[in-house]
């Protein structure tokens, strides 16, 4: 393997090929991180709504989850980027097509964020539902309202319980961010492909991409493990059971 091509002047942009790699990493991290913020926030709200005692809150959340997690994320990417501007009112569509800054980037963020939200919602829901009914009863019996019971009783334990599956979703969003290349975001995989086309160092550049992805995901895995230990409840033995 020969990595000397990294220091060669790049075909365009004035820098060297290493700059392309670094730029790719930057966009991968940006797309994934912003998408995760959406996914975690929206997913948490939806997950809570999925367990609500009233149908008018539960049903819309269920419909959202079933749509977003059952359509392939690649298809969703195309819908956000190519279809959405055509079906929204024309003023909005024109803005999306001509005036929106960095449309590829923002569409990728929204697509990944709202797709992953459906999966986060299912994790949050399963965490809440793994709590014994008695915990809700205990909260209500002392005079807490139902929202207070969620806030102080159910959610703090539910989030702890779902840290491992949540880690998986967090990793997925970084890996799925490579799909953003299909609408033109020059993230890590896109840059690797581009460099391979200009330098024919296909093997080397994809080795680099692989290692970078692995480093990102390993960092997340270890951070989440740290978080899990940090939030561990003394004396609490797994599964809420009962």
């Amino acid at each position: 393997m020969d990595f000397s091509f990294l220091s060669l002047p790049a075909f365009s942009g004035g820098g060297i090929y290493l700059d392309w790699v670094i730029s790719g990493i930057k966009w991968t991290l940006l797309v994934s991180s912003l998408a995760w913020i959406i996914a975690f926030t929206v997913g948490s709200v939806l997950g809570v709504l999925r367990t609500a005692p009233v149908a008018w809150l539960r049903v819309p959340a269920t419909i959202y989850v079933e749509i977003f997690r059952n359509v392939p994320v690649l298809v969703q990417m195309f819908i956000w980027y190519f279809v959405a501007p055509e079906i929204v009112p024309q003023v909005a569509g024109d803005w999306l097509k001509t005036k929106m800054p960095m449309p590829e980037f923002w569409n990728a963020v929204l697509c990944l964020g709202f797709y992953t939200a459906s999966r986060v919602a299912e994790q949050v829901r399963s965490g809440i539902q793994s709590m014994p009914k008695g915990q809700t009863n205990a909260g209500l019996a002392m005079g807490l309202t139902l929202p207070q019971t969620y806030r102080y009783v159910l959610l703090p334990m539910a989030y702890r319980i779902v840290i491992p599956p949540m880690t998986t979703e967090f990793l997925s969003i970084f890996k799925n961010s490579s799909i953003a290349l299909t609408i033109g975001v020059l993230e890590l995989t896109a840059q690797a492909r581009q460099i391979s086309e200009y330098t024919f160092r296909t093997f080397e550049i994809f080795t680099i991409a692989t290692i970078v992805y692995a480093l990102i995901t390993l960092t997340i895995t270890f951070s989440m493990r740290w978080l899990e230990n940090k939030t561990r409840v003394p004396g609490y033995i797994g599964g809420a059971g009962k």
């Binding site: 009863n137 019996a141 003394p234």
Partner: protein, 242 residues
């Protein structure tokens, strides 16, 4: 103080409570007993509306539990409840379990709440464990914390739903002792339990249920002396064997 009139409840077509009528007067201790599945736990949970009911009326100090206009959190905050599985909140320290509703429901300042919590912990003999988590305590200790947690709200009445059923035999007495002391102080109590020794020592009245019906509602002396119904006699002969 607590009055139930002709309370009926169905799960689907199955009737779990049939025309239940009874009352608990101020300062009175009423023990509810009966075979498994007789509706005892369901009955006690209707008192603070943890279980809804379809027919009849329940009032607590004149306030109707079933009326849609009733402020349930407020009503519940005045009635303490202790559960079979303790239902302490595992992620909170013992003292924070007791502080929570004082601060969030009664709006007590944090230091006043803590002072009250510590006094109650001392009373149940657990002040040394204030900063532990529930999972680090034995079952009997957890249940005593749960009683302290309910008392922290200065309740007008206490509901006990099989408070010793989940305990190892050697821990039952430490919990019953706390309950006996409460009764002696004049606390109004409704207790679902199989502990007939406790009933014969502490109760004023005994309510015997079978198949969703209140079969017998008698003074303690009458119930243990000469239960009128065959079903109650049968139940007592089985349970008082040893």
């Amino acid at each position: 103080m607590i009055e139930m009139k002709n309370v009926s409840k169905w799960y689907g077509t199955f009737q779990v409570l049939k025309n239940c009528t009874t009352r608990v007067d101020k300062g009175e201790v009423v023990v509810v007993c009966g075979p498994s599945g007789s509706g005892k736990s369901t009955l006690i949970k209707t008192v603070n509306a943890l279980e809804p009911f379809q027919q009849g009326e329940i009032t607590v100090e004149g306030i109707s539990v079933g009326a849609p206009a009733t402020d349930l959190p407020k009503l519940r905050s005045r009635i303490g409840m202790v559960f079979q599985n303790f239902e302490l909140f595992p992620h909170m320290k013992v003292v924070d379990n007791i502080n929570l509703a004082q601060i969030k429901v009664l709006n007590r300042p944090a230091d006043a709440a803590r002072e009250k919590s510590m006094a109650l912990l001392k009373r149940v003999g657990l002040d040394a464990h204030a900063d532990k988590h529930p999972g680090q305590l034995s079952g009997g200790q957890q249940q005593r914390v749960a009683i302290a947690r309910a008392l922290a709200m200065d309740p007008i009445a206490m509901l006990f739903d099989e408070p010793t059923s989940a305990l190892d035999p050697e821990m039952i007495n430490e919990v019953l002792d706390v309950m006996t002391e409460l009764a002696k102080e004049g606390m109004t109590m409704m207790v679902v339990t199989h502990e007939m020794g406790f009933a014969s020592r502490v109760a004023h009245r005994v309510v015997f249920m079978d198949a969703g019906e209140i079969v017998e509602d008698a003074k303690k002396e009458d119930f243990f002396g000469k239960p009128r119904s065959e079903r109650a006699q049968h139940f007592l002969s089985k349970i008082l064997h040893h």
